[in-house]
Subunit: 444 residues, 2 copies
């Protein structure tokens, strides 16, 4: 296949569409997609750029890693979601740079000129200045990450079944998860369940219920964004499932198959997963504005880029303060609210055919926080109400089903969950091709 | 992770289990699995070896390639299927050789001694002496093959959407399928439907309904194993879906992105798929017995290896004649019947504690043949009855659901099919990591 270019295509678009306003949306996650779904204007055409062909329901990504769901259950083709929007063009392409002053975005193949820009590229796994750890402790941000982790975990048990050296057996039977935030807690709970209730009868030489799931958290508690009693409940629920929770512990170094802790101890593990940090894409450095240390963009209260009212940043990349004075968290409801906010601002301006004197500031409506730990085990914090255990789990289940994009997925996932719940089985325990670690991963 | 060995483990097994008879089953496809499910004896332990961790419902593999089903819908963990059989040990390992005289099988890691051997390793894509074509025209035998094809087909449309060169556009919009047997027909029909009814509204610059699906068949008809009227019906149904069927055409050469035909013409295509041949694994050469040109083993009428009554070959690897004097076809019902036959022979011999004077010959019961072409389009031939169109399709649907291993999968697949049927949507249109072509594929 020869290389191709979209440069000419964009030129053609400009010539044909020069009376139209062009909005470029970078990223089809919750922020970018919600923007599109809330923006309709006959004089505007929208181009959505994403480096994958699917919108990912990221809150359930850990279920793919833990063999609970199949990849297509939590991913919908972006083109399918937007197929009824002839005003929207989807580009399968990667953003490589910004020329904000020239109102241009540079793509891997070609470039795009815009009248309005919505940057919604989300986050990536952050290693606190230790990118070399990524090879040994993958993070969980994409479907490929999840499929790679799924294969790697299952493979470790297969190898343990055949291991004759007790030290090797113990290493393969250990999973270390670094970071006690929602992702780390959900992964630890899901792997504890996988080993205790699903794999427990499958092997003849190892006992998967003896697998060690170690959750390492730097602060004094898991889920430190929740009230202390809920954090404590989450920890108790994790421990009841068999997870070893180690608080107040830092990671000093990570090498192939081992984690060196701040206290000098070394844990050898067949799988080490990194759930300790998220950072914005390094591309934010090209925006020429102030960033926080995680690379998030300090946006104006209306979510626009300082000095560039035509450019907005939404979702996990945006650093904006909520009414409580704290940064709005990097969660999907916040991204969706931001997408809707920017859609309203641009819609009003285009209808008014002039820039209004002032724009409304973004207000985050915190609908509550929840994290699931396992079968009938979860914590939820909604307004003044705190739940844990079965009630929180049912609330979590209900809300995640409601928000799953696409009818098929919702039904398939419900069915899958019901089956797993009543049968103690998980059907996605498939080792497929094990892609190389991210360092060696080429862009398709 | 350090290398490991199961040599020591097998030594231990022998010492502990030296009073037991040991049956080694190579391959957990339809043949190997049916053997295990039909063999129970308190004095016997069974070891099943497979190079994947899952049993694959191969008749539906084309649905994964064509975005209709998710990988876990058609794959079940071998360990899960056999988890209630403490007498069965599953080894995730690869067969690398045979020492039939010493009653030993050589594995990638270690070796296994047996009292009885059941070889059920199935087939692989055969290129008629042109292994170099595999890179450019992948076949469809494993889940990884299907996922690779799925990503590659979707990627071609993404590239066509951005292509400015008309020749490149036309190439990317062309899919060539070599071989008009059941797999080729099913793939052609499924891709025709994908482009005509699923992707049709998703793009802004290309028209997926104009994609060319070219099916190349060397003989005078597709599905040449069926009666002529059914073959003709299949061809008409394919053409109604938009497939270009080219009979009596041979492939002379395959290069990157192009097929050179026997008539000297060249077809340029973004995707070339090979469905023209299946051959047994080259390991059969080590069995020291006569093979046919596809590498199949000429077994005795009881399915044992000539000169080695303790070793049997079942499934696609076995060449045995049916009552009509023709070779039993390489289909899953035949493999299952062979697995059951060998289970009965061994069971009788162990119960009798002596070799009987003679063993029953394998008799193939042909339950009929069917191939699906698309929505309400199929052909079926059962005994004296021939069906085509909707009735054949419903029969196909029903039978494939009945035989899908595992309750979850059956329900999930039914739901998925019902949804696809009524909505004209397919949800597994996900481009994941594109593994390298088979030539470069490492064993996990």
């Amino acid at each position: 296949m020869r290389p191709y270019s979209i440069g000419a295509f964009i030129q053609i678009c400009r010539v044909n569409g020069n009376k139209q306003i062009h909005i470029v949306v970078l990223g089809a996650g919750f922020g970018g997609l919600t923007f599109c779904q809330n923006f309709h204007h006959p004089d505007v055409r929208i181009t959505v750029v994403d480096r994958t062909n699917h919108h990912l329901f990221q809150p359930l990504l850990y279920q793919v890693a833990a063999c609970g769901l199949a990849a297509p259950d939590i991913a919908q083709p972006i083109r399918a979601i937007l197929s009824n929007r002839p005003d929207v063009t989807v580009l399968f392409n990667q953003v490589v740079g910004f020329e904000i002053a020239q109102k241009q975005v540079l793509l891997e193949k070609g470039q795009l000129a815009y009248d309005y820009l919505v940057v919604a590229l989300g986050g990536q796994t952050g290693y606190f200045g230790h990118p070399e750890w990524e090879r040994f402790a993958p993070g969980l941000k994409t479907l490929d990450d999840a499929l790679r982790i799924r294969s790697s975990i299952l493979l470790a048990f297969e190898r343990a079944e055949n291991a004759t050296d007790p030290a090797e057996h113990d290493q393969l039977m250990t999973i270390v998860i670094v970071g006690g935030g929602p992702t780390g807690v959900e992964l630890a709970g899901a792997f504890a369940e996988l080993t205790r209730t699903v794999l427990n009868r499958d092997f003849r030489h190892i006992d998967p219920t003896q697998a060690r799931i170690i959750l390492i958290e730097g602060s004094s508690t898991v889920l430190s964004h929740l009230p202390p009693d809920l954090s404590a409940s989450a920890q108790r629920q994790l421990e009841a499932l068999g997870v070893e929770v180690r608080n107040n512990l830092h990671v000093k170094n990570i090498r192939a198959g081992e984690v060196e802790l701040g206290n000098g101890k070394i844990i050898r593990a067949g799988n080490i997963l990194w759930a300790a940090g998220v950072s914005a894409t390094p591309l934010t450095r090209q925006l020429g504005v102030e960033l926080d240390k995680a690379g998030r963009v300090k946006v104006n209260p209306d979510l626009s880029l300082p000095g560039h009212p035509e450019a907005f940043v939404v979702g996990d990349m945006a650093l904006v303060l909520g009414e409580n004075g704290k940064p709005v968290p990097g969660v999907s409801p916040a991204a969706m609210q931001m997408g809707r906010h920017v859609a309203q601002i641009i819609q009003v301006e285009i209808n008014a055919r002039a820039k209004p004197a002032s724009r409304p500031a973004f207000k985050y409506w915190d609908k509550g926080t929840m994290a699931t730990i396992g079968r009938s085990a979860a914590v939820a914090w909604v307004g003044k109400f705190k739940f844990s255990g079965r009630l929180a789990w049912l609330a979590w289940l209900f809300i995640h089903l409601i928000f799953l994009v696409g009818f098929r997925n919702r039904l398939a996932v419900l069915l899958q969950w019901a089956y797993s719940y009543f049968s103690f089985k998980r059907s996605a325990r498939i080792i497929t091709y094990l892609p190389p670690a991210p360092a060696a991963e080429p862009r398709p």
